[in-house]
C-alpha cells in the first residue's frame, strides 16, 4: 500500500523533529567551540567572533596529543580482545553443546547487571594487592574494559550465530569440518555486519569510558585517555566552557569518522540483530 501525501509529510515531520533533537546539542557544542567571546558563554548564543583559538588552547591544556594516542591504544586493544572473545563465546553458546551452557551464559550476563561503579574501587585495590605489575598500565585498562564489555559482545554474537540455520552447521560437520573450521569458514563470513557493528559499539564505549581510566590511571597520569584528560579544563571554581567544547569536539571526531565509514554495515548489523536475535 502506498502511503498518502499527508502520511508522507507527517512521517517526514516526525523524523525531522527527532533528527533536530539529536543534532541540536551538537550544534550548540560546535557554536561554543568556535565562540571567540571572552567570558562565560551559553551553548546556543551565536558567536560574535569565530575563532579556532579554543581548539589549540584545549589541545595544549589537556595534552590531547598524548591522550588521543592513549585512547587509540586502549580502544584498539579493547576492541580486538572483546570482539575475539565475543565471537568465540557467542559461537560456543549458540552452536556447541556442552554441559552447563545455560548456567554459564547466565553468569556471563551478570556483567550486564553489575555497574562498573560498583566494581571499580575493589578492582583498584585488588590490582595493587595481587597484580601490582599491571597497576597504571594500558594492559590493565584493556583487560578491565574487556571484562566489562565482553558480556554484551557474547550476547550480541550469540544472537547472530543462533540465527544461523542449524542445518548449515550440521552440513559443515558432515563435510568433515571441526568446530574451528565451521566457525571460520561457515559461521563467520555471514556474521560480518554483526561483527562490524560490535566493533563500532565497543570502540565507542571504550573511547568514551571515563571512570575506569580515571581510577586505574591514578598512579600514571601520563597514560590517561582523552575523556579523562579534559578534566583539567574543569576547575573547582571555574570552567573553560569554550575550551571544553573544543576538546569534546576533537575527542568525538574519531568516533564520528568510524561511524560514517561503517554506517552502511552498522545499520545492516543492527537490523539483522533486531530481526534474527
Amino acid at each position: 500500500m502506498t502511503p498518502s501525501r499527508t502520511e508522507r509529510l507527517a512521517t517526514h515531520g516526525v523524523l525531522l523533529l527527532f533528527a533536530a533533537l539529536a543534532v541540536a546539542p551538537l550544534v550548540g557544542i560546535v557554536l561554543t567551540a568556535l565562540n571567540g567571546t571572552a567570558g562565560p558563554v551559553s551553548g546556543f548564543a551565536w558567536p560574535e567572533t569565530l575563532t579556532f583559538d579554543n581548539v589549540s588552547r584545549a589541545w595544549d591544556a589537556a595534552n590531547l596529543s598524548s591522550a588521543l594516542v592513549s585512547s587509540a591504544l586502549v580502544s584498539a586493544g579493547v576492541v580486538a580482545l572483546t570482539v575475539t572473545l565475543s565471537v568465540l563465546a557467542g559461537y560456543a553458546f549458540a552452536l556447541l553443546d556442552f554441559r552447563g551452557r545455560n548456567v554459564l551464559f547466565g553468569v556471563l550476563l551478570l556483567g550486564f547487571v553489575v555497574p562498573s561503579e560498583a566494581v571499580v574501587i575493589p578492582l583498584y585495590y585488588d590490582v595493587r594487592a595481587y597484580t601490582p605489575f599491571l597497576d597504571g598500565t594500558y594492559a590493565l585498562l584493556i583487560l578491565a574494559e574487556t571484562a566489562r564489555f565482553v558480556a554484551f559482545g557474547a550476547f550480541w554474537m550469540r544472537a547472530f550465530f543462533g540465527a544461523i540455520p542449524r542445518s548449515l552447521v550440521d552440513a559443515a560437520m558432515l563435510d568433515g569440518a571441526g568446530p574451528w573450521r565451521t566457525l571460520w569458514r561457515v559461521a563467520l563470513p555471514p556474521a560480518k555486519p554483526a561483527i562490524v557493528t560490535l566493533v563500532v559499539i565497543i570502540f565507542l564505549w571504550s573511547w568514551n569510558e571515563f571512570l575506569l581510566p580515571l581510577v586505574l590511571f591514578a598512579a600514571t597520569p601520563e597514560n590517561v585517555t582523552a575523556p579523562v584528560s579534559l578534566a583539567v579544563l574543569t576547575g573547582r571554581n571555574t570552567t573553560d566552557v569554550t575550551g571544553l567544547a573544543a576538546g569534546s569536539l576533537m575527542i568525538a571526531l574519531p568516533v564520528v569518522l568510524l561511524y560514517a565509514f561503517f554506517q552502511r554495515q552498522l545499520i545492516r548489523g543492527v537490523l539483522s540483530g533486531a530481526v534474527k536475535g
Binding site: 542445518s167 550440521d170 552440513a171 558432515l174 571441526g178
Partner: protein
C-alpha cells in the same frame, strides 16, 4: 556402497520424550530405503542418528558391519541432503561442491576432476560461479545433491529434499533422483512424509508412527498387505476407507456392507474393515452386490474423480470412492457402488491386520 543395520535404536530426549523407540531396520548395500510417516513420528530423528547429528540413547548402528554408534559425524563417511539444502551462502556453487573435499585435504587435481564430473552429471556447469542466492529452488536442490555425490560416500541420507519445491518440479526431481540412484547405486535412506514419494522412489519403504517402524517392505507389499490400520490409512492417496463392523456369524456387517470373514481370522465382537477408494465401482441398482450412497463431496481430478459419501447413515463414517470421470455426479446424488477389490480386516482395538477377504458379492441392504 555399504549396508546399514539399525539394532534396537532408541532416542529419548530430555524431559522423557521418546522420539524413536527400539527400531530395528536393515538397509542392504545399494538399496533405496524410504522412511515415511507423519510429522513427529521419529523419522528425521532416526536419520539424524544415522548421520551422527543426534546421540543414540540405546541400541547400535552398524555401517558395513562396523559399529558407528559413537563415531563422530565428520568421520562416518555418510553424506546428507537437507530439507533446506544447507548450501553455504557465501560460497560459490563450485566452492560448495568442493568444500568437503578440501576438508579432507584431497589434491587440487582430484578436487577439480570430481567437481567437474559431478557438475556435468547434474548439469551444473553454467552455475559453478554463482552463489546459492542466485539459484532457483531446483538448481539449489541439484547443488545439494552434487555436494553429497562428490564425496563418494558410503551412504546418502536425504531429509525431505523435495519438500521445498513446487509440485511440478518435485515430480521432475523425483524422476531425476530415481535415475541417479539407478546409476550410482549408493545405499540411500530417504525421509519423507509424502507417501507418493515413498511409493515411487523406495526400493523398500519403512512406515513409521510414534517412534516405531509399523511395517517395512516393498511399496507394493505395504500398499496391498498393510500390517495394520495405520499403514493402511497412511499409504495410498486418497487413504483407505476404514469402517467399524460388527460380527454376525461368519460375516462382518458395516452399514450396507456384508463381508465374509477371512479364514482363520481371530475376531471378537467388532472389527475394522478397510477398502481402498479404487476398489469401489459404480454399479446398477439391480446388482445384488451394490449398495446405495448419497454423495456429499465431489473432487474432479481430470481423468478421475473422488466421490465422498457416508457409510452407515448420518452418524456413520466418511468414505471416498475413486471413480472414472465419465458421466455426471453431483453433490446430493444417490449412487450405487460395489466393492470390486480386496476388503482388509483389522483388529478393532490394536489395528493389527487380521486378513483379507475377496470382493463383496452381496450387500446387506439396498
Amino acid at each position: 556402497m555399504k549396508a546399514i543395520r539399525i539394532q534396537g535404536v532408541t532416542k529419548r530426549f530430555a524431559g522423557g520424550v521418546t522420539a524413536v523407540d527400539a527400531v530395528d531396520l536393515e538397509v542392504e548395500a545399494g538399496e533405496f530405503m524410504v522412511l515415511v510417516g507423519p510429522s513427529g513420528c521419529g523419522k528425521t530423528t532416526l536419520l539424524r542418528m544415522l548421520a551422527g547429528l543426534e546421540t543414540v540413547s540405546d541400541g547400535c548402528i552398524l555401517l558395513d558391519g562396523n559399529d558407528i554408534t559413537h563415531v563422530h559425524a565428520r568421520r562416518r563417511d555418510i553424506a546428507m541432503v537437507f530439507q533446506d539444502y544447507a548450501l553455504y551462502p557465501q560460497m560459490t556453487v563450485e566452492a560448495n561442491l568442493s568444500f568437503a573435499l578440501r576438508m579432507r585435504k584431497l589434491s587440487k587435481e582430484d578436487i577439480r576432476s570430481r567437481v567437474t564430473d559431478v557438475a556435468a552429471t547434474l548439469e551444473l556447469e553454467p552455475l559453478l560461479d554463482r552463489r546459492p542466492h542466485a539459484l532457483s529452488g531446483g538448481q539449489r536442490q541439484r547443488v545439494a545433491l552434487g555436494r553429497a555425490i562428490v564425496r563418494e560416500p558410503a551412504a546418502f541420507l536425504m531429509d525431505e529434499p523435495l519438500s521445498n519445491l513446487d509440485a511440478k518440479l518435485r515430480g521432475t526431481m523425483r524422476s531425476e533422483l530415481a535415475r541417479l540412484h539407478a546409476r550410482l547405486n549408493v545405499t540411500t535412506v530417504y525421509v519423507t512424509h509424502d507417501q507418493v514419494e515413498a511409493m515411487t522412489l523406495g526400493g523398500r519403504v519403512a512406515v513409521m508412527s510414534e517412534g516405531r517402524v509399523q511395517q517395512c517392505g516393498t511399496p507394493r507389499e505395504v500398499y496391498e498387505r498393510p500390517a495394520n490400520a495405520f499403514v493402511a490409512a497412511f499409504m495410498g492417496s486418497p487413504p483407505m476407507n476404514l469402517v467399524t463392523a460388527r460380527i454376525d456369524g461368519d460375516t462382518a456387517v458395516a452399514g450396507p456392507l456384508r463381508v465374509a470373514l477371512p479364514r482363520d481370522a481371530a475376531v471378537e465382537e467388532t472389527v475394522t474393515l478397510g477398502v481402498r477408494p479404487n476398489a469401489l465401482q459404480l454399479a446398477s441398482e439391480s446388482d445384488p452386490a451394490a449398495f446405495a450412497a448419497v454423495v456429499d463431496v465431489v473432487e474432479e481430478l481430470g481423468d478421475e474423480r473422488l466421490v465422498g459419501f457416508r457409510v452407515g447413515g448420518e452418524s456413520g463414517t466418511d468414505a471416498t470412492a475413486k471413480l472414472p470421470s465419465a458421466g455426471e455426479i453431483r453433490i446430493g446424488d444417490r449412487i450405487h457402488l460395489t466393492v470390486v477389490g480386496d476388503v482388509h480386516f483389522f483388529a478393532a482395538d490394536t489395528g493389527t491386520a487380521l486378513g483379507v477377504a475377496p470382493p463383496v458379492r452381496h450387500a446387506a441392504t439396498k
